[in-house]
């Protein structure tokens, strides 16, 4: 185990750098709520792209990809990434191109749904969005507690409180600008270190030819096969069906799309996908090294175990910095998304009743919300919930939102009631067929991937059938969204 004093020092130095970056980014902003929460159309393409890459790279992109490759072998090159590739190319790219064109003045998904499908659907999207951002942040902060405890022996509670404090301070200082600015610094740290650690680990392990021979003679007899029935049903299909909405439902993605300059959406989404795709693939290589070398560890710990074993102390320190940057970058995006949803979708419309406010007071309210949310995230993370359970629960919570949203963007005569009931019944189905069995709380009624598939079919089928039999009047997108002023309805 590494020296715990160095662990504390690393976290504090990391925090000071992030606070300095947040202060610098804040000076570039305007003094109003829209800029604090949205930084609308003010960020260049490289900055938003690196921020989005680092939002998409979280602990699971490295550890989960390596774990899958450790279990299934060479399928680990592509099975983790396919879900995000499909989500980006088939859904996010056409959706954001259209949404940014028809609704340039909004900045959140619930805001879009309020205008398109009404208050009832808006409330569900807002509440689920808030829960998603909150529990994803809890998941990340729980992970930093685990990582710092395993690597440095720092008590879980201490690492959780320091991690949450760092993120809360810099997001409260600069809002979305701070989140994006610190993401860029975290992106640089993360990618430079990964670009050193992964090739060096491969070289120390003997190179690709030796790894291949190790895989061919490993305990997994199908390790050199690109696909098997087990890898397709146990990994590929579950991954595609649970992450197909990855690139469109998360508020952090919406914020970065709207913070980028108008007309750069396609480059942003496609460029980010191109940059992100090789990251889980090369992380999978570490899992394959573990399998080829016969590592006997918990599969979820294979990434740090291989790097720590083959590279020694410096590899473990590099691993610590990689994990801190990965986890805190996603946490700050979640905290920012959470505060944006609470202020924009709950506080302003339902508590303030959209009455005008002094800009300074508005920003003060937003900062208080950030601080309260940061405290809430730290408190929940102290409870040490199962990361696996949170991952499944959050994924399935948002599953049924996918199709009512996608259909509402493209179908002018979508039946609003059918879309609402598709959302409700699809969510219940995902809970029973995917979340609870996925977390091991009940016996699976059907295989997990079929549970996800049924929930998708319900969430898409009910709105489609409802529209087929009872279409609504044609919705006038341009007219409806042109009534929205920047920063609120």
């Amino acid at each position: 185990m590494l020296n715990s004093f160095i662990g504390y020092a690393m976290m504090i130095i990391f925090g000071l750098i992030m606070v300095a970056v947040a202060t610098y980014m804040k000076r570039k902003g305007k003094n109003n709520l829209d800029d604090f929460l949205s930084a609308r159309e003010s960020m260049s393409l490289p900055v938003t792209m690196s921020s989005l890459v680092v939002v998409w790279v979280w602990s699971s992109s490295l550890m989960g990809a390596a774990e899958g490759a450790f279990k299934f072998g060479v399928a680990g090159f592509y099975m983790y990434g396919v879900s995000v590739l499909l989500s980006s190319i088939l859904i996010a790219w056409p959706i954001f191109k259209r949404v940014r064109k028809i609704a340039p003045s909004i900045s959140t998904l619930p805001e879009f749904m309020k205008i398109r499908l009404g208050t009832r659907t808006h409330l569900i999207f807002a509440i689920v969005g808030i829960l998603q951002s909150f529990f994803w942040a809890v998941l990340q902060i729980t992970a930093i507690g685990l990582v710092m405890n395993v690597l440095f022996g720092i008590p879980h509670a201490a690492a959780v409180i320091i991690g949450a404090l760092i993120v809360t301070i810099y997001v409260a200082i600069g809002g979305l600008r701070a989140s994006i600015g610190t993401d860029v610094v975290q992106f640089c740290m993360l990618l430079i270190l990964l670009a050193i650690v992964i090739p060096v680990t491969l070289w120390v392990a003997g190179g690709p030819a030796e790894i291949y021979q190790g895989l061919a003679h490993s305990s997994v007899k199908t390790a050199t096969m690109l696909y098997t029935k087990e890898s397709v049903t146990g990994w590929l299909l579950v991954s595609i069906l649970s992450f197909i909405n990855y690139a469109i439902i998360d508020q952090s993605v919406w914020q970065r799309v709207y913070a980028s300059k108008r007309g750069t959406e396609s480059k942003l989404i496609l460029g980010t996908t191109l940059l992100w795709l090789p990251i889980p693939a090369v992380a999978g290589l570490i899992g394959m090294i573990g399998l080829a070398k016969g590592f006997q560890v918990n599969p979820s710990e294979i990434f740090p175990a291989v790097v720590g074993e083959l590279l020694g102390t410096w590899g473990a320190y590099a691993m610590a910095i990689i994990m801190i940057a990965t986890i805190l970058s996603t946490t700050d995006s979640c905290l920012n998304a959470l505060s944006t949803l609470i202020v924009r979708e709950i506080y302003l419309p339902y508590i303030r009743k959209n009455k005008p406010m002094d800009p300074n007071k508005e920003i003060k309210v937003a900062r208080i919300v950030v601080i309260v949310c940061g405290l809430g995230i730290a408190l929940f993370s102290l409870a040490q919930f199962s990361i696996l359970y949170l991952n499944y629960a959050v994924g399935a919570l948002t599953l049924a939102m996918t199709w009512p949203f996608v259909l509402s963007v493209f179908m002018k005569n979508l039946n609003k009631n059918a879309a609402f009931w598709g959302l409700i019944i699809g969510t219940v189905s995902a809970l029973i067929l995917a979340v609870l069995p996925g977390a091991g709380l009940i016996e699976p009624i059907v295989p997990l991937w079929i549970g996800y598939l049924i929930s998708h079919i319900i969430a898409a089928g009910i709105p489609l059938l409802g529209t087929l039999f009872a279409p609504d009047h044609e919705f006038q997108y341009q007219a409806a969204f042109s009534k929205v002023s920047k920063g609120g309805i």
């Binding site: 490289p46 900055v47 690196s50 090159f77 992964i198 790894i211 291949y212 021979q213 696909y227």
Partner: protein, 42 residues
């Protein structure tokens, strides 16, 4: 379908090159963006 040894070696080096070149290029553009922005302000 089995991935051959030469295929594995090729995929490994292609992915590593793609990963390093694409991401370090973006790191370069981010620095350029920030340095130019900083110089414009000062």
């Amino acid at each position: 379908m089995v991935l051959s040894e030469s295929g594995f070696v090729f995929v490994t080096y292609t992915l590593l090159t793609w990963f390093i070149v694409s991401n370090l290029t973006l790191v370069f553009f981010c620095f350029k963006d920030w340095v130019l922005g900083f110089l414009k302000r000062t």
